[in-house]
Amino acid sequence: MWHGYFGIENLALNATQRATLVAELRALGPASDPQPARLNHWRVRLDGEAVIFEALFNENSLTVDAFKNRLASIFGVDPGTITTDATTHHFAGGDTPVVVFSRGGTDYLRLALFGGVSSSWENSGDECRGYLKLYQDAWELAE
């Protein structure tokens, strides 16, 4: 299990596809926990096209294959038709894997696992906060 933060950014999903994916991701994590921090909760970007989730996750639910399978189910296609491009970003000195999921030459989804699923909650949080700081114009209301 991994307590950390991950984010998704919609690149080309339609409204129905996006809603289906978000609903599935909101269901991840424990059904109950004495700590609010470990229950799935999220923050939505001002334009509604990106979400950051935090919870105590089963790492198996956050693998590249897991997201491929989700997108394949949403599209009604073979997961093998979905390709990925992985890079590593550093928002606060840590390593955040970022994966873009594509099909037929179109990028559909960007996934960021803040700090990576081997990171501590603190380090994942640092990466997430660093990301939010970097893109605060998109995530925060103006002063």
Binding site: Q35, P36, A37, H41, G125, C128, L141
Partner: protein, 241 residues
């Protein structure tokens, strides 16, 4: 009945909670010690469950507060305590009142990272709102009392502070005064207030909105609200645990 209930709750909690009793002695209309160790509910000692808050994402019992009671950690990403309720809305007085919250930032970098961090929000709309927050200006806190579109606001140099500090803001249309207190000392006083209009729809500890926007990064304890401006001597006393 609410006062008796609150006092009984404090006494039944076990060991003497002297700071909680002190706050209760000033007759707030809402007071959430935020000393829970588990669960989603932030108990309001004045009127529970009608004015209880709901935690989102905080880490409970993360750090001893200024009085040694457990306090929650707000992660500066997506945590807050939503204390809005219809009962609170009906009780809150935008023309006369006080807010107080004990605050502690997560680390020294919070004071200079240029990110707005909201400690407490009471809001009707953009023209009628009250808040205190970590300013985007280095080592400063920002307060705002806006009524009818007339804003009394400012950034006050404070920090970097690594320990707990008390923030209190009083407002009074009758006295035509808004005053910010830090650790019990008045640091900003303004007048020429506007006329408050409307009932609050947002009352949050640790954020500006439930998105959340401007989430606090650090710990917050003992948020409380009054329907009168507390006297300076009362504020000074509440700044001592």
């Amino acid at each position: 009945m609410g006062m008796l209930h609150g006092t009984m709750r404090a006494l039944l909690g076990g060991a003497k909670k002297s700071y909680i009793d002190k706050v209760l002695g000033t007759d707030p209309f809402a007071y959430w010690p935020q000393n829970e160790k588990s669960g989603l509910t932030a108990i309001d000692l004045i009127n529970s469950p009608a004015q209880d808050g709901t935690y989102t994402g905080v880490t409970l019992n993360a750090l001893p507060g200024p009085d040694g009671q457990p306090t929650p950690f707000f992660d500066g990403a997506n945590d807050f305590n939503n204390v809005f309720s219809a009962t609170l809305q009906g009780a809150l007085n935008g023309s006369e009142g006080t807010l107080q919250v004990w605050s502690k930032v997560a680390n020294a970098g919070v004071w200079t990272d240029g990110t707005l961090r909201r400690a407490l929000t009471v809001s009707v709309d953009a023209n009628n709102e009250i808040f205190v927050e970590r300013s985007s200006v280095d080592n400063a806190l920002r307060y705002r009392y806006e009524a009818g579109g007339v804003a009394e606001t400012g950034d006050v140099a404070f920090g970097p502070v690594s320990d707990w500090f008390s923030i209190a803001l009083t407002w009074s249309i009758m006295a035509d005064t808004v005053a910010l207190y830090l650790n019990g000392v008045p640091v900003a006083v303004k007048g020429a207030l506007g006329a408050w209009a409307g009932a609050p729809v947002t009352v949050l500890v640790g954020a500006r909105t439930v998105a959340p926007s401007r989430p606090w990064h650090g710990n917050l304890a003992h948020p409380a609200l009054w329907t009168r401006p507390l006297a300076p001597a009362e504020i000074a006393d509440l700044a001592v645990v």
